[in-house]
Symmetry: C2
Subunit: 580 residues, 2 copies
Amino acid sequence: MSKLIRVDMNTREIRVEDLANNKAYGGFGGRGLTSMIVSREVPPTCHPLSEKNKLVIASGLLSGTTAANSGRLSVGAKSPLTGGIKESNVGGSGAFKLARLGVRGIVVEGQAEPGKLYCLVVNKDGASLEAADEYKGLKNYDLVEKLREKYGEKVGTVSIGPAGEMKLSAASVAVSDTKGRPTRHAGRGGMGAVMGCKGLKAVVIDDAGAPKMEYKDADAFKAAAAKLRKALQAHDVTKPDGGLAVFGTNVLVNVINEAGGFPTRNFSDGRFEGADKISGETMHDIIKERGGNTTHAGCTTCIIQCSNIYHDKDKNYVTSALEYETIWANGANCGIDDLDAIAQIDRLCDEYGLDTIETGCAIGVAMAGGVKEFGDAEGAIELVHEMGKGSPLGRILGNGASVTGQAFGVANVPVVKRQGLPAYDPRAVKGQGVTYATTPMGGDHTAGYAVATNIMKVGGYVDPLKPDGQVELSRNLQIATAALDSAGLCVFIAFAILDIPEGLEAIPEMLNARYGLNMNLDDVTEHGKAILKAEREFNAGAGFTRLDDRLPDFFKEEALEPHGVVFDVPDEELDELHDF
Amino acid sequence: MSKLIRVDMNTREIRVEDLANNKAYGGFGGRGLTSMIVSREVPPTCHPLSEKNKLVIASGLLSGTTAANSGRLSVGAKSPLTGGIKESNVGGSGAFKLARLGVRGIVVEGQAEPGKLYCLVVNKDGASLEAADEYKGLKNYDLVEKLREKYGEKVGTVSIGPAGEMKLSAASVAVSDTKGRPTRHAGRGGMGAVMGCKGLKAVVIDDAGAPKMEYKDADAFKAAAAKLRKALQAHDVTKPDGGLAVFGTNVLVNVINEAGGFPTRNFSDGRFEGADKISGETMHDIIKERGGNTTHAGCTTCIIQCSNIYHDKDKNYVTSALEYETIWANGANCGIDDLDAIAQIDRLCDEYGLDTIETGCAIGVAMAGGVKEFGDAEGAIELVHEMGKGSPLGRILGNGASVTGQAFGVANVPVVKRQGLPAYDPRAVKGQGVTYATTPMGGDHTAGYAVATNIMKVGGYVDPLKPDGQVELSRNLQIATAALDSAGLCVFIAFAILDIPEGLEAIPEMLNARYGLNMNLDDVTEHGKAILKAEREFNAGAGFTRLDDRLPDFFKEEALEPHGVVFDVPDEELDELHDF
């Protein structure tokens, strides 16, 4: 049985629905489920912090199975950051445990009485809402420790820190990793603020005693899962001694810097003179020297192992899952080349429950506005503490790059749909620029990761510096990604399935074997399209037009060094992206 | 000759154009001229603080003449607050003096080097740009005193305070009144921020030695002007012993409170228990007792004299032009019933260069978010000081109600197009609600002042509590107002011309006599329509849709006491407002 748990925070009533009988939602998981529910049930013009908004937490269609890298969790709502629909995708152990309990999704509705906090406990017996006022103001690590003390060491957690309680638009939803630490975050779009305004401090997932996972055809599933696993283990990017496993996602610092698309000091340069000091290669050596772990699976069922464990100079644990985007946002984008400082910022963001990308973007804009000097690592750390404290300065930054730009009178604010842009300058990685501009998610890199084909030459090659072919590339990736996000699969499997046909085939085969379906690759594509269409419709209802599918003018007007390029994909082509 | 002065802040070059030869702009003044220039010359997607934005300052078509109440000045640009086109309308002496010098408009283009400030001096010999770094950070009263010391006691000034220099979205442009004090403000939409980001601290207008005003038919003008004057002196609202002259605009406190449309404590109630303490009647007695002035002409050529001079308990000058909107915003809307405190806030807003409406709206939202208690007058004063200092808290508030709501996680934020709503609850004065929703200016009361017909029964009567007829009412008022704003006439003449046909006829007659035209009333209406259309087109180009022509959902869902009404003008009707 695939269950949908509805939690009414007004009445504290919980209802469980069977998704098998639900024609609208039954075929969807992960982002598919969050986006279908939000687009059907949330009035698009409602205030994101009003009780009409709904927070949806969903495991993927393949979550809970033995499929490699199937442990992604989707958190969706109307975003307080963008004002549009949002799905924020996260790893860790949550999706796996929820799916093991037969739970495809949790819909959090209404709002608790102001000031009251609750914890939702999901286990083999069902779900219950427990008072959680004692956890008020707790940071994520402390919170999770207390939850594990109370509910057992093996529970998974989905939680918010102080930022979510304060309803900051950059507030994340933390998900515990395979070691039980709150290091994986549904960072983007302020999902933590929506959770906070509902009065939900945490979801505890106890999958002890969960029934055995059911497969319509267990053997076929096993065979299909093996095909995917084989592809992942064969591809250069994802194999056990590949770039992601050895250097983590941070392998990209040198790659993107070399490509001249490494946004530096608030997107004013394409190369960072301090790149070497924060690169994956340097980080690898530091981690090894200090007894951390360079090759770590942060997400249940992950075989790529891009995560890591980072220690300080005294060999004490600082943080885990220190990723490229985080290192870029709070490194090069702020002119900071001190990896220990960046690791500390990552830990603070995990503690306070903040999106590391939006945080770094906001700090970069604040630096452009003269709040701190570019390169001031101590200053940046201070600013993150301000965010966690909820001081007025922290509330500016904690509401993202767009508000920060307005507060400090900065004109060059790198956002789309008010969401801070990630770690690839759209002028030098134009396919990525198309994704930023056109995804319903706002400035987002994973929604259509054109870097793969623009830079890493995976799935073919489209010259990153030229406008030609970028729209088609981004369109195909956006559709495929929506489908992967519904399946609960990690976006990194895209590298393998773009290049290795057997890996790609495994996707519908696994879905068919799990649920007794008869999908082919075209059906998977249609599945992705249906999700994108629902998201676009919601955004149209919220007032978005083709003019929201644009980069800020400065990307079109101010050339980026070293290539001297502007973003020159024509608006008319951007408008065609969603013609499918 | 009607001149357009173009000032390029990049090169500090000044060009003068003759508007007589300009087909696109020649027939427009005031808001007509600002909106035509902005809509044609400013890229609608540009960042409002980028050098592509232009600040336009324009006198009206009838400014400089002997026409009563023809001294309104328009300040226009792309708004940093709304992201759309903006005209902010202000009295004082600026329009008259500019027009006397033959200057219909000033277009400020480009941006000075960051940190540099300039003063534009306009006199009978032309215009020049002078370094003004010495005035950096000066508040408006000090600034104007220094400017008058340097340029003479009789000059008019247009200036920004610290808020404009800091580019806050609630920053106003101050215009000196008939006594030379910077008490009249183009408050709405952050025109002060645009002036600040261009590096223009002040415009000094010295009309000494200006040529005699030219009329194509001086006698006809005299006769027409007399008709308007007579109508103003006859109408109950505008006559010498009428409500506006005796109690100022603040006569409205009791009227609107009685009507149950007096927004109280961030639009959560329609009546304020402290109304009597801040009413026009109470203020009149206080002013009289302390030797102030209840019947004062703040604007050159004004015969209505709605302005006042407010003294403190020790009979010392505090502020002038203490208006209804200011008293409401920083009074009832913040739960404050202390008129002396409100007068102090008004003075501080004039000093720092802040829109009193946006300021009060932001403080009301901040109070709803727990920053201060409702009713805390000292707290509110503190908050205005924070804005003037540009502390982080001040930068939140100084960027308006919308940013403040986001910063403090407040869902009920009374804004349209991100601009704070003025002093009439749209649920109980529904015609006003239609104007808020549909004017291209964002939540604005003067753009179509339906209060006249809804509450004061001027120009007929449309029941304020019912949706019927409100769209037609607002449409007609919006068109007429655009035309009046182009003429440089005060919106308060509307009371007289709506009820007295001779007053209305005087408008085209004065235009014809001044310029040798042959306009009739239909032509005046077409003139208004042309302006609104240009503004709508700009906003469409900036990404606005019909969904931006809406009130926040809470006005439609949460009933307002005492009448228990919601805003129920159908969306479809709102969408028809601009069908003309």
